[in-house]
């Protein structure tokens, strides 16, 4: 009899997480928990200035402190050709500054000592003489004709521009605007934010002179990319490099780039011939590692007066800080910004993008998003909201009219993406029903009479998750596929390894569920390992919601290879031909006699003890999966707020999230991902941003200035589900981990703007702090742009 899939922890089971067993006992194994014999400790001295020439560095006082073993400066790195390293976007980044510092917090020197306290003391004893240079803190300053050139280290770098890029059909878009009845405009700033996982970055480099092997334990979401990069930068042979990502205390894109601290710890270990541990402090993490967003977005929409969208044009100006260190597919300079409006039937669109260097920390990483889609979808939903208001149309009905219909798939978007499945209108309806949309307007009017300002916000979107395919997506030329390797032991237990890297998503739990679904081996009988480049197959890592779409698919595919071999073994055991064999979960049987069968465990034993003549022994295989397309989940989010007219304080009354991420492997984990994303959406809408003063001082360098929501502020969430399986994914799944962070923020902003729209306000930039909302309410004007320097100044 076939197994009960839920009972064996297969697909659809809300299986409790395997990871939890160690985490709830305090037995996780994060980088800082690892202690190696004879380990030294490293601390980085960072620049207090945002832009300055280094006149001198005196490390002699640091060496006077007992316990200091080594002090590294840019000059010493340069002598080994390691002062600069390549970024993941074909730029270069200083490892330790040589000529100049270009942002506050930049790495200037490093101390390696017996104990982290001594290393910190010694950093304070290093004397650096700086000569201040003019500071540029936003793209407007950067693009000025007389602006100081920040990257004068680069040849052929005339100004501060990083790139110019465009995509779409300019002519067709112009034509749409010529034919428009109404043209609606939107201009906003998506402020700089930091992913800020609870655990900071860190590494332990362990170079063994005797074997020539370098082992690095580190906080990386993509350990194989790091191995390749270390091989290239440090010129070490790749087979002698082992990168191990142990448990990661969150990532959210922050742990994708390769940071100077990792490289310095590697050199320090090579020089001292001892393991060297570097654990970044929170301020170091917030002021120097990959931030997200910081994009000015401007656009307009051509509309027919009945509500049909005819076209859209859009411009982005992005602030990349001092080094262009985003990780993104090499073909696309501003990530997948052009996925904007992918859920709408948009006949013509055009996008121009320009990126600038500034004296701010490098990054522009995809913070819990698939390469800039967060900015793309935020602009989309703010623009849609404004357009509906300009037309005097209902927000839901305007969306309903323009959303891609179920029978239009596969649908080619104006920017060339192919969306392949979805039930957009159904999701919209489910959300409207849940939030009580039909009665809201009346409720809003009655509340206004009592002096209460209620607002409702909608955000609908589909986003491209799961890069690649390899035709279009690569990082530094490495194609974006992923991998899985499965070994079934003779007793029918198994070990699975993938090229993805868990950082809270629960891969140890869910990957085993996919194997259970494909092979009928109970999930509890399957060990899952990731993150060790000596054992895991090559993969591109976990970010951009790509684990389930790519590595998860590889897990299904490798399981099918195992099943194909097991089928041959089953035929041998049952003494029938392979064609006469049928499969049901966990068991092969003879078609003509269902009672005659063998289990997958019987086949596993036979693979080691009784294989057919001529068959290679064992039951293991691997699969490299190159997805035919991205996956396209859909989300419809509804937020209801009340704004206090006296103070500008707004409270969330209700959040309804409808997600269609295709088939759900583990519904409990999917819902956990959605709630986490909604919280980050609320965070960005309400409080979470990093700004800089005119001198380039980072305001937001610790958790007292960089506000993250606690359990007290965070609203409750009501989740709903629609399932449209992905047509090309082997188990019908789509990415989901980032949908709520991507589509969520606009729902909050749309709700607050809706509540104050009677004043004529069309936009309030995030974070919508009470003072901004109050300003909007009392002046009736948009509050856009970012203090202290607004782009329009």
């Amino acid at each position: 009899m076939a197994l009960d899939e839920i009972k064996i922890g297969g697909m659809g089971a809300s299986r409790r997480r395997v990871e939890d067993n160690r985490f709830i006992r305090g037995k996780g194994n994060y980088v800082d928990d690892i202690v190696l014999q004879g380990m030294l400790h490293m601390e980085i001295l960072r620049s207090p200035m945002a832009h300055a020439r280094i006149k001198s560095i005196d490390v002699s006082k640091a060496y006077e402190i007992p316990g200091v073993r080594l002090v590294l400066t840019g000059e010493m790195m340069a002598a080994r050709n390691l002062a600069w390293m390549p970024t993941l976007s074909y730029d270069t980044q200083a490892v330790l500054a040589t000529d100049k510092v270009r942002f506050q917090g930049q790495e200037v020197a490093a101390v390696i000592a017996d104990d982290p306290y001594i290393a910190k003391d010694a950093c304070q004893a290093i004397v650096v003489e700086y000569e201040a240079l003019p500071v540029i803190v936003n793209p407007l300053q950067a693009m000025a004709s007389d602006a100081t050139v920040i990257r004068d280290d680069k040849e052929n770098q005339p100004g501060n521009k990083v790139f110019d890029w465009e995509i779409g059909d300019r002519e067709a878009t112009d034509k749409a605007f010529a034919e428009a009845d109404v043209i609606s405009k939107m201009e906003l700033h998506y402020p700089r934010s930091h992913p800020s996982p609870m655990e900071t970055c860190g590494s332990i480099a362990d170079f063994n002179r005797a074997t020539g092997k370098l082992t690095v334990y580190m906080t990386s979401q993509a350990p194989h990319i790091v191995r390749a990069a270390v091989a290239m930068v440090a010129e070490l042979p790749e087979h002698m490099i082992r990168i191990v990502s142990p448990d990661l205390g969150g990532g959210f894109g922050n742990k994708v780039p390769i940071y100077p601290g990792y490289v310095i710890s590697i050199l320090a270990s090579i020089l001292t011939e001892r393991p060297v541990k570097w654990i970044e402090d929170k301020t170091g993490n917030l002021i120097s590692t990959g931030f997200g967003r910081d994009v000015y977005l401007k656009g307009e929409m051509a509309l027919r007066k009945d509500g049909k969208i005819l076209g859209m044009r859009m411009n982005t100006i992005s602030d990349h800080g001092a080094f262009y260190a985003d990780a993104q597919p090499s073909k696309f300079k501003i990530g997948l910004m052009h996925s904007t409006f992918a859920c709408y039937d948009l006949p013509a669109a055009h996008l121009t993008s320009t990126g600038y260097y500034t004296n701010k920390a490098p990054g522009g990483v995809a913070y819990r998003c698939s390469f800039r889609v967060t900015e793309a979808m935020f602009f989309q939903e703010r623009m849609i909201h404004a357009a509906a208001d300009d037309l005097g149309m209902d927000q839901a009905e305007f969306r309903r009219m323009n959303l891609v219909k179920d029978d239009m798939f596969p649908y080619r978007t104006a920017f060339g993406f192919l969306t392949d499945s979805g039930q957009y209108e159904k999701c919209l309806n489910v959300g409207m029903e849940a939030i009580g949309y039909s009665t809201f307007k009346q409720e809003q009017e009655e509340a206004r009479k009592r002096g209460k300002l209620l607002g409702i916000g909608i955000s609908t979107m589909t986003e491209p998750l799961g890069a690649g395919n390899s035709r279009e997506y690569d990082i530094l030329g490495i194609k974006m596929f992923d991998s899985a390797e499965l070994r079934v032991h003779m007793t029918g237990k198994a070990i699975l390894r993938t090229g993805a890297m868990n950082q809270g998503q629960g891969h140890q739990t869910t990957w085993a569920q996919i194997v259970a679904h494909e092979l009928g081996i109970p999930a509890d009988d399957i060990t899952v390992e990731e993150g060790d480049t000596d054992t895991a197959p090559f993969g591109m890592g976990t970010y951009a919601s790509r684990s389930t779409p790519v590595a998860g698919a590889a897990v299904a595919m490798v399981s099918r290879k195992i099943r194909a071999k097991a089928r041959k073994i089953a035929a041998h055991l049952l003494e029938v031909s392979e064609e006469d064999i049928e499969w049901e979960l966990g068991r092969f049987y003879v078609r003509s006699n269902k009672e005659r069968g063998v289990t997958i465990q019987d086949c596993a034993l036979a693979a080691y003890s009784n294989m057919p003549d001529g068959m290679e022994p064992g039951l293991e295989n691997n699969a490299y999966y190159d997805p035919p397309n991205l996956t396209w989940p859909f989300a419809a989010y509804f937020v209801k707020v009340e704004v206090d007219a006296e103070t500008g304080v707004w409270d969330v009354l209700n959040v309804v999230a409808v997600d269609d991420c295709g088939v759900r492997i583990n519904p409990m984990i999917v819902e956990g991902q959605i709630m986490g994303g909604l919280t980050e959406a609320y965070a960005m809408a309400s409080m979470q941003y990093i700004t800089f003063d005119e001198e380039g001082n980072c305001i937001g360098s610790n958790y007292m200035d960089y506000l993250l929501p606690t359990a007290w502020e965070t609203p409750g969430f009501e989740l709903h589900e629609v399932v449209t399986p992905c047509p090309h994914h082997p188990i019908g799944a789509k990415g989901v981990g980032e949908c709520a962070t991507v589509a969520g923020p606009a729902a909050f902003v749309n709700a607050v703007v809706n509540a104050v729209s009677h004043t004529g306000v069309r936009n309030i930039d995030m974070p919508m702090m009470p003072n901004r909302v109050y300003e909007a309410l009392t002046t009736g004007k948009d509050v856009s742009g970012m203090p202290p320097v607004r782009i329009s100044d």
Partner: protein, 175 residues
Amino acid sequence: MSSLYDEVAPAPAEGVPTRRITVTVNGEPRTIDVEPRLLLAHMLRQGLKLTGTHSGCDTSNCGACTILFEGRPIKSCTMLAVQADGHSIETVEGLATSSELHPIQEGFKQEHGLQCGFCTPGMMMASKALLEKNPNPTEDEVRWALSGNLCRCTGYQNIVKSVLWAAEKMRAESN
């Protein structure tokens, strides 16, 4: 007796003062020589190898290092080890017995109250302090009690459910 410097580093340099302290950790008295400036969190992690207490922000904002000090939740990154001399503290490692999980641990697993796991020990210790004082808290009381602990993964809803799950189980057990 264990000595911090014996375990993680050579003996302190001449002139660096140390002080011998005794702290009861999870019911067991531990004697240790520490520099007066050593933070309690670092003493636990590096000196006593109790790495379940995490160091998150160093400014007492994130709560990853929350432990119980004489039964009260405190952030061990902002207390000196010497201040704990003669006192009793509890860490996440003291929650479970060898055979049985604490109901709070069970609750976090059952209600998916954790993802990356980094904030979890601190969350659970803060929850323990709450439930010992208030065995039947409302959702708001749980949210308030945990408002000194940040989580970036879960969105808190499942953490709150985990604590309420544990509260129910603990009440049932005490009846």
